[in-house]
């Protein structure tokens, strides 16, 4: 389980996160939702120790993040994390070199799934294909937790569909996923848990399935209630 406890983050004098707390379980897809600039990306960066927090604590399976935790959790940011001059095959080789949890079979499967050519240079790829390579590099790691930042942003409809299909496949099964997205429509039916963030705080945390069954409300309905009133 990923536990985010009362985290606070300031940029200069501006407090972006004012005590955010939530948990994300293994085997569940947790979606962080909020308007632009509420600190969704900052939360993911903080979980991966890519930005320091001013207060609070983050635990992964009960422990603070250590170097070996990166064999257990991965982050797929909204920009590719490999050098543009690399070919896809070279990027895969890099991952294989450094991560013992790299799963070559799964990488090959994802290559086929996304219809990518491993000899293509990253710099020559379209935005959609670059996002797919980014996903491939993250999902081919045998990790327990995957964090994804806006995997659908600025991507064409067909690529979005392909990426959404990943969530229903065995590629995600049994993993804990935290995802931030604006395009809630693409994955609304796949989300287990929703964490609504506004003004640096968690305004609501709920189970999407329960809201649907008990209150007859979709995620968008609940969002409307919270944000518009």
């Amino acid at each position: 389980m990923i536990e985010v406890k009362e985290i606070e983050k300031k940029y200069g004098r501006k407090k972006i996160l004012k005590g955010v707390s939530f948990t994300a379980n293994k085997g569940e897809i947790t979606c962080l939702i909020g308007l632009n600039g509420v600190g969704k990306t900052t939360i993911l960066n903080a979980i991966m120790a890519l930005t320091p927090i001013n207060k609070g604590q983050i635990l992964i399976d009960g422990e603070p993040l250590k170097e070996k935790t990166f064999e257990k959790i991965t982050f797929i940011p909204d920009a590719i994390t490999m050098l543009p001059q690399m070919k896809i095959a070279e990027a895969m080789e890099f991952m294989k070199d450094f991560y013992t949890c790299w799963n070559q079979d799964r990488a090959t499967e994802l290559l086929g799934f996304f219809r990518l050519n491993k000899d293509d240079r990253i710099s020559s790829l379209s935005k959609g294909n670059t996002a797919k390579v980014n996903l491939l590099l993250g999902l081919a790691l045998d990790v327990d937790y995957v964090l994804m930042d806006e995997p659908f942003s600025g991507i064409d409809m067909f690529s979005r569909e392909e990426i959404a299909n990943v969530f229903t496949s065995h590629l995600i099964e049994n993993r804990g996923v935290i995802i931030t997205t604006h395009e809630i429509g693409d994955i609304e039916h796949l989300i287990d848990k929703v964490v609504l963030i506004d003004n640096g705080l968690v305004t609501k945390e709920f189970n999407a399935e329960e809201a649907r069954e008990n209150e007859g409300k979709s995620v968008i309905d609940v969002m409307r209630e919270v944000y518009i009133g």
Partner: protein, 277 residues
């Protein structure tokens, strides 16, 4: 250790093109220098001896023999060295900043590797060292080849033969990069390593605290310089020459080591706790 070596290999491959270009420029420009400098002297000798009919002995009395030193003192020889120094100095900054800038944020990947983040620091500093030693080694290989070509062009009676060691020791610029003794090598390159580690720490302070980090980096650099030269200042102004030169030398070595360890520790702390993507 394995991850450190993999990172060094990876970092060096990233700079390989620039490295080869610097080697190529050094080779071509210095070779042209040997050719043109020797030709200039030969043209002058030919004109004086065969056109102006100046006797050979008189020519040598008037203009003297040519030594390899003249080639080494020319811009043909020194400009590529200056370019290499500038290239390495530039790359000290680029090696960090290239991972942050642009839409391909490679720093995310580096910081998420399942290895201690100090390995990134060690790999980058090792790359700078390997690059520097590579360029120096290439210069050491080039020198005898250049002298051989020079000797082939200038006839022996017009040539003032100087040993390569003599050439290097009589040029302060050259003896800095090609030290005369092991002790000097350790001192010069140790000081270089220390300077690069302090610069790296300054860069990491900037990357961690942005504007405030620039001031912190400058302050850290200034403090490091003051700490390093404090024994010399004390010796001169307070202790009135209390230490023997060898004692002062040892104190300076210890000061250098303390600063190196402090820079590595601070860089490790910043990479682990304060760095921001």
């Amino acid at each position: 250790m394995k991850n450190y070596l993999k990172l060094v290999n990876f970092e060096f491959n990233r700079v390989a093109k620039l490295f080869v270009v610097l080697l190529g420029i050094t080779f071509v420009v210095q070779m042209l220098g040997v050719f043109f400098e020797a030709k200039k002297y030969l043209d002058m000798a030919n004109q004086q001896i065969y056109e102006e009919m100046v006797p050979k002995a008189q020519f040598l009395q008037m203009y003297g023999q040519m030594s390899f030193m003249e080639v080494v003192r020319s811009a043909w020889f020194l400009a590529p060295i200056a370019l290499c120094v500038a290239g390495v100095a530039f790359y000290i900054f680029l090696i960090w900043y290239r991972d942050w800038v642009g839409k391909n944020t490679f720093i995310y990947r580096l910081l998420m590797l399942p290895t201690t983040r100090l390995n990134i620091f060690y790999a980058k500093i090792t790359t700078i060292l390997v690059m520097t030693f590579g360029l120096v080694a290439f210069q050491i290989i080039l020198l005898p080849i250049e002298k051989w070509i020079f000797n082939g062009m200038i006839p022996i009676e017009f040539r003032n033969d100087m040993g390569l060691i003599e050439v290097v020791t009589s040029m302060p610029e050259l003896s800095l990069i090609i030290p005369n003794s092991l002790l000097q090598l350790v001192l010069y390159y140790g000081a270089g390593l220390l300077a690069v580690s302090i610069l790296f720490t300054g860069i990491l302070l900037e990357r961690s605290f942005k504007w405030k980090g620039i001031f912190a980096g400058l302050l850290y650099g200034a403090i490091a310089v003051v700490v390093f030269i404090s024994p010399l200042l004390l010796q001169d102004f307070v202790l009135d020459g209390f230490f023997y030169p060898i004692e002062l030398f040892m104190i300076e070595i210890v000061m250098g080591l303390i600063l190196l360890v402090a820079s590595i520790w601070l860089s490790g702390f910043l990479l682990k706790k304060k760095i921001t993507v």
